[in-house]
């Protein structure tokens, strides 16, 4: 059976490029090295939930139509619209995104990607404050303090810890995997003692055994040599269980805790005992670990961008890292979600000058998040047609925004029959990027990686890039006919 090596996984921003696939009769039958989500994608791409024919809504029902009819209908909708939005782009290749920019410019629409509901605030903040960052390779080999703030890598980027941070064997920093196993064993031992005490098996328990468990300060592992992992979150996540130290902050209070840390790093004293539920002495320990490390990295997730403060939370996170760089070496990186959302920002920027929310309605690119972001356009009910590609806003936008999205003509390009496709007016099935078509994608640290084509797409199914090119061509034909007739 042919085995394809070094396949890049098209799921999350980690873009793990060590996946090994076994292909049999043009089908992936076995996945090696991948996480649960990767396996689900590589084995689930051929499932029954896939659309196989172009669909158009007629009398309220989606019916199968020939591709030409669907292309013409979509082009007609876009060519006749005054203020169309073209949204998604994060789960497709840079090559398709490039055609997307051309199409949007041609029809004078608004081009936006899923950053708007993930790291849009981070981008705004980076544009204001700047960002001291690095590549994941540098972190893998050199970082001895790893902090995840407002993100749960175990759930959203399952192999991030294993490939780039705590559990990876770097050139100068060793993996903490053994330490973690010891911790798990110790926890299991504690559980056994507890159970024995409960059942009355232990006749003369020692004082140590009877010590009640309370919210404790930094554990002795914070003082250890080698890699340290700190997690800050509003709830104890799966990742928090792995951490050397977990700090629980109250929802919407990250800003205050980070400002407190900034003060501590500058050797200022705080007049309070607690900062939003976190005792200052614990924060002092964390500040101490930050200052003492050789090279630290702060990863942050949507816990910061979606909570109260939004972009201001990122401002203060970057400022914290800037302060830390006066004492040691520290970097910061957003945990990008979709596999090519970084690519969407990069492509949009090199083509139009702006990373997301680009408005072409005046004939030149304009960027004013809050005005030209798709979310605000939908909430203000301004758009009159939409094209959604490689994303599922109906499953990820607030209801009010989706209400307007489905009221106007909606074109959907996606391999899956997702929530948006179910409500679409014209639906194109497309080939899976990274499985049935190759291309380029950008990892969360802005490193471009090639995506591989491992199997042939089903007959008659085009790639995102081809569908967009056909629509663009048809739009141009319709527009030239209009000009001729007028």
């Amino acid at each position: 059976m042919p085995i394809v090596n070094a396949v890049t996984c098209p799921v999350c921003g980690c873009l793990c490029d060590d996946i090994e696939l076994t292909v049999e009769n043009n089908e992936v039958v076995k996945v090696k090295n991948g996480c649960a989500i990767c396996e689900s994608k590589f084995l689930g791409y051929k499932s029954e939930h896939r659309t196989r024919k172009p669909l158009i809504r007629k009398n309220g029902e989606l019916v199968e139509v020939p591709l030409e009819e669907a292309i013409h209908k979509a082009a007609e909708i876009l060519a006749n619209a005054n203020y169309p939005i073209l949204y998604g782009w994060s789960s497709t290749s840079c090559e398709a995104q490039r055609v997307g920019v051309e199409l949007t410019e041609e029809i004078g629409g608004v081009l936006d990607n899923t950053s708007v509901v993930c790291h849009g605030p981070s981008i705004l903040s980076i544009q204001e404050v700047g960002i001291p960052s690095c590549t994941l390779g540098q972190i893998r080999h050199r970082a001895d303090l790893i902090i995840y703030w407002g993100c749960d890598p175990w759930s959203a980027h399952p192999r991030h810890l294993e490939r780039y941070t705590t559990f990876t064997e770097g050139r100068f920093e060793k993996s903490d995997w053994k330490g973690y196993l010891q911790k798990v064993k110790a926890a299991a031992g504690k559980k056994k003692i507890k159970s024995a005490l409960r059942r009355g098996v232990v006749k003369h328990p020692s004082e140590h055994m009877l010590k009640p468990e309370t919210m404790s300060g930094p554990p002795p592992t914070m003082m250890k040599e080698g890699r340290k992992l700190i997690i800050v979150d509003v709830r104890k996540t799966m990742s928090a269980e792995i951490a050397d130290y977990f700090i629980q902050v109250e929802p919407n209070k990250d800003y205050e805790v980070m400002q407190a840390l900034r003060a501590l790093i500058r050797d200022q004293e705080l007049d309070v005992d607690k900062v939003d539920g976190v005792p200052v002495e614990y924060l002092e320990e964390v500040a101490d670990a930050m200052v003492r490390c050789e090279f630290g990295i702060l990863f942050f997730g949507l816990g910061l961008t979606m909570s109260a403060g939004k972009l201001r939370n990122i401002d203060v996170a970057i400022s914290l890292v800037r302060d830390l760089n006066m004492r040691t070496k520290f970097a910061i990186m957003p945990m990008r979600g979709h596999f090519n959302v970084t690519g969407a920002n990069v492509v949009f920027t090199w083509q139009s000058g702006y990373p997301y929310a680009v408005d072409f309605s005046l004939g030149y690119p304009r960027y004013n998040p809050g005005e030209t972001t798709v979310m605000d356009i939908l909430l203000r009910k301004e758009s009159d047609a939409s094209l959604v590609i490689a994303s599922d806003p109906a499953a990820n936008f607030p209801r009010k925004a989706v209400e307007h999205l489905v009221k106007t003509p909606l074109i959907v390009i996606d391999p899956h029959m997702n929530a948006t496709a179910l409500m679409g007016d014209v639906v194109f099935p497309s080939a899976f990027v990274g499985i049935e078509v190759g291309g380029t994608a950008y990892r969360m640290d802005h490193v471009p990686l090639p995506l591989k084509k491992v199997v042939e797409p089903p007959e008659g199914i085009l790639t995102d890039e081809e569908i967009l090119k056909r629509i663009l061509e048809e739009v141009r034909t319709i527009k030239s006919k209009k000009t001729e007739s007028s």
């Binding site: 605030p121 705004l124 996540t237 961008t305 979310m375 109906a394 499953a395 029959m417």
Partner: protein
């Protein structure tokens, strides 16, 4: 004493099950089970007199939706509920964008009440009832 309603803070986010489900297909059983649920604190569930897998009605100023309550296995999170990203969470999450395009998906005030008799809608039913399509 069993309370009728509980004031909580709503968080939405990812879970590994949601990730696996979305890649399997949005129409799949895995996706439905992963996103039509709500993690709750065991103590809070006791206060409402509900057990694991009981249907609850979560309401915010934006709307209300029926989801399945599941006990949060990792630690006590009193006053916090967590619904994975998906059409169910979107019915109720805040659409305030603070003029930067980003709605507040985390930290929205909400109310929870038991809804034993109310049905948990499938994705198609939910979209039909919310958007008429």
């Amino acid at each position: 004493m069993v309370e009728e309603k509980l004031r909580v803070t709503l968080l939405t986010g990812r879970t590994i099950e949601q990730g696996v489900g979305k890649e399997r297909g949005k129409g799949s059983k895995e996706y439905f089970e992963a996103v039509s649920m709500c993690y709750m604190d065991a103590g809070d569930m006791k206060k409402l007199g509900i057990k694991n897998n009981t249907n609850i009605l979560v309401s915010t100023e934006n709307g209300s939706v029926v989801v399945k309550a599941v006990k949060y296995p990792r630690a006590a999170t009193p006053g916090i509920i967590y619904i994975p990203y998906g059409p169910w969470a979107n019915v109720i999450c805040s659409n305030k964008t603070s003029s930067i395009g980003m709605p507040s998906f985390k930290g929205t005030p909400a109310e929870v009440e038991p809804a034993r008799d109310k049905p948990l809608l499938t994705m198609k039913e939910l979209l039909k009832s919310e958007f008429g399509r």
